[in-house]
Symmetry: C2
Subunit: 442 residues, 2 copies
């Protein structure tokens, strides 16, 4: 594939990885479910998108999982891909969408029986944004899209910056007595305890940190890591034991909150002991971690550096907290500071308004054939499309669902809302390509 | 404006020129007619798009004419913009569309009263293609588009490569006795006459060439120049005296053909005398040319080098002739030879299938609010949308029209078909933005 679809100077090509499963494909002409890979190894998304595997037979569909450039093994410049901003320059959503479009056109031209196959894009999270944008930008290539837990409106000026953390907080508030209140109190407790050398040492031991806290900078990093931990828990608050970002029990936030059900007279040390037990639910559910590493919060299958670069360029997602409607330390959204960090880290500055211009912002009503599914427990639903826009831009809410629960393998413990969502999604799939007017219109 | 909208390494900016006329604008909220500039100086397009000026008052519209990057004064790297393939790398339709989108968002954010103004894109020829693609890719930014004489299907695999020259030939066939037949015979006559040194000299004198023909290469160039002359005449066969590519009489092909009305027994020298008189109708209507320059066929306001680069990258438009259904020497479409020429000239190779993938090819039915107008006399109608696709992707045919006649100032000699076309276009404009559902849907 072209490293640069939008310029002709750089004529280098690279190998994009994609996985194909055609066991149930009814050729010729059976549909293709095309996973628009996001920021990680495609085999990991492939294994965590059981929904596609489960509906392949019913639809007679071929499955294709396409890896996003710069992640997994799809490195445009091999080991040098992340070496500097020059090599990172082709890491954009537009280039990734162009990769997907060219891949599909190639498959159609080379796979016998695929020429007339309608293609449905499927993705979750950033992959869901890509699925939605893919249909918007290349309706000639895909007949429709399922954008699961896709925060396409988490961009400047589109939704309040505090909604994301409000939802995280609500998840904790509903999952145990005083759970959000005690997390809200914990930041002050950390500040208090960490103000002495012995307190720092106590904290490091209590949390079994691999690298003991030494400075105020370490403490800030520690609090950020804890905040991210609560966010991740909100994302993966699934109704059954699962291993997405980490191996976790069913309804993990309820388990976490059992350690935080203190009354208001708890001491800082007691409170933080509870917090450490809570954090270990997330980091050491299997009991195999000898210490906790505050530089990592989730699976290594995700490409954190690449995503940071994308956030520093196009994917500018304002977030803020006020400590009142959410359980975090108050922090405004400060674009200038963010931009300066990006400049220091990668030598690039984000373009705050670009995503809204190029991907439509809130003005997407003229598009068609996109399902936006959202979980009520998922903080990313704050930036999602949670109401129907037209009769072919559909929102499906899953009140008991966390981050793209609908894309996961079905489970006996699935709530009825996600079962209904999946059934509806499949119904829309066939509607997207069975209108007798070719696969490009509703 | 960003030199590179699709990468963040190149953070240079450049000044894009645009012209604004708000005399008739009914602010706040009056519509904006936005000319998507094509391959030339924007002031020239501005002066040749009288239609916009004439309907501004009726619509209470503001007019904006935006210059396309790399043309006129909108040079991303100043005098170096054309120096090599590195500097030319940002000359693409995608970058130009992004310029237009960002320009409109900026105008809306800064011009009092423009925030809620619906925007209609208007363009002719390549500018018409841009107008259509602009609506397809940025429906959040423009409510609709008028794509006049826009050959969006003149790409590989979409229309027969010979149709373009067939239409040119039909124009000559209908404009005078034996006119196409004698042009068809002229190529052989040129070959015969140019086979001797004295014949070459006679030809050079007969055609008043600034640079006499000396070699067989010169003769090939001479024939190409003549062929392009007939094409240009077909494009500007307007029903009144006009100066678009050249100053010309009304119905110039009829005037040309008066010099070519020979019977079949004409000698090569007689025939070529007629051809030279015919060519001089195009090149010397005003009588001010002392000699004819075979290296130029049209106004210097068009950026020929930039367009050649665009044709050598994205804008791959197959053309062919067979000498039977058209009046030209037979020539197949040879992509490989074309690609090799591009590589030699610019160091880039064209991507034959990219335009079809990125701009939708023939699968555009899911888009909306685009008027495709085509002139029956215009060879570019071969690659145009000449039938309605949906009730908001409208084709308007102007049988007596040449290249985007509808965009020109009205004239007493305008045929009824172009008057009707303009009236219909204005009707659709207001329909595009008055549906009460915002400006993004039909």
């Amino acid at each position: 594939f072209q490293v640069d679809h939008f310029g002709f100077l750089e004529d280098d090509t690279f190998k994009q990885r994609y996985l194909v499963a055609d066991k149930h494909w009814q050729q010729p002409g059976g549909p293709v479910l095309f996973y628009t890979g996001n920021e990680g190894d495609i085999t990991w998304f492939c294994n965590n998108t059981g929904f596609m595997w489960e509906v392949a037979e019913e639809l007679g569909a071929m499955l294709v999982f396409a890896e996003h450039r710069y992640y997994g093994e799809s490195l445009p410049f091999g080991q040098d891909s992340y070496s500097d901003s020059k090599h990172l320059n082709y890491l954009t959503a537009e280039q990734a969408l162009a990769d997907f479009a060219v891949l599909i056109q190639n498959l159609k031209n080379t796979l016998p029986g695929a020429q007339q196959s309608p293609v449905i894009a499927v993705g979750g999270s950033y992959g869901g944004m890509l699925a939605a944008w893919f249909r918007m930008k290349y309706p000639n290539v895909v007949a429709g899209a399922l954008a699961a837990s896709a925060p396409i409106w988490q961009f400047p000026g589109m939704v309040p910056c505090g909604d994301f953390y409000k939802i995280v907080t609500q998840d904790f508030a509903r999952s145990g007595y005083n759970c959000d209140a005690n997390i809200r109190k914990s930041w002050k407790a950390i500040n208090n305890v960490s103000s002495t050398v012995s307190g720092l040492q106590w904290l490091s031991e209590e949390f079994s940190l691999c690298a003991p806290l030494k400075t105020i900078i370490d403490v800030i990093g520690f609090k950020n890591w804890l905040q991210e931990t609560w966010v991740n828990l909100a994302m993966v608050d699934y109704p059954y034991e699962a291993n997405f970002l980490q191996p976790l029990p069913r309804w993990p936030i309820q388990v976490v909150c059992k350690n935080l059900a203190f009354d208001s007279n708890v001491s800082d040390y007691q409170l933080l002991h509870g917090v450490s037990q809570a954090a270990k639910v997330y980091y050491n559910y299997t009991g195999s971690s000898s210490c906790l590493n505050t530089s990592q919060t989730a699976t290594g299958s995700l490409g954190a550096l690449g995503w940071t670069y994308q956030a520093c360029t196009e994917m500018v997602m304002p977030m803020c907290t006020d400590g009142v409607q959410d359980m975090f330390e108050p922090e405004d959204w400060n674009f200038q500071a963010f931009s300066d960090e990006c400049k220091a880290m990668f030598g690039v500055r984000p373009r705050a308004d670009w995503a809204g211009t190029v991907f439509g912002g809130k003005e997407i009503a003229s598009h068609s054939n996109i399902i936006f599914s959202n979980g009520g427990l998922d903080p990313w639903s704050a930036g999602g499309v949670t109401h129907n826009i037209t009769d072919s831009l559909i929102s499906i809410m899953i009140p008991d669902g966390a981050h793209h629960l609908d894309l996961r393998y079905s489970n006996d413990l699935d709530p009825p809302s996600v079962r209904a969502a999946r059934a509806l999604e499949v119904k829309y799939f066939s509607r997207f390509y069975s209108h007798g007017c070719g696969y490009s219109c509703l």
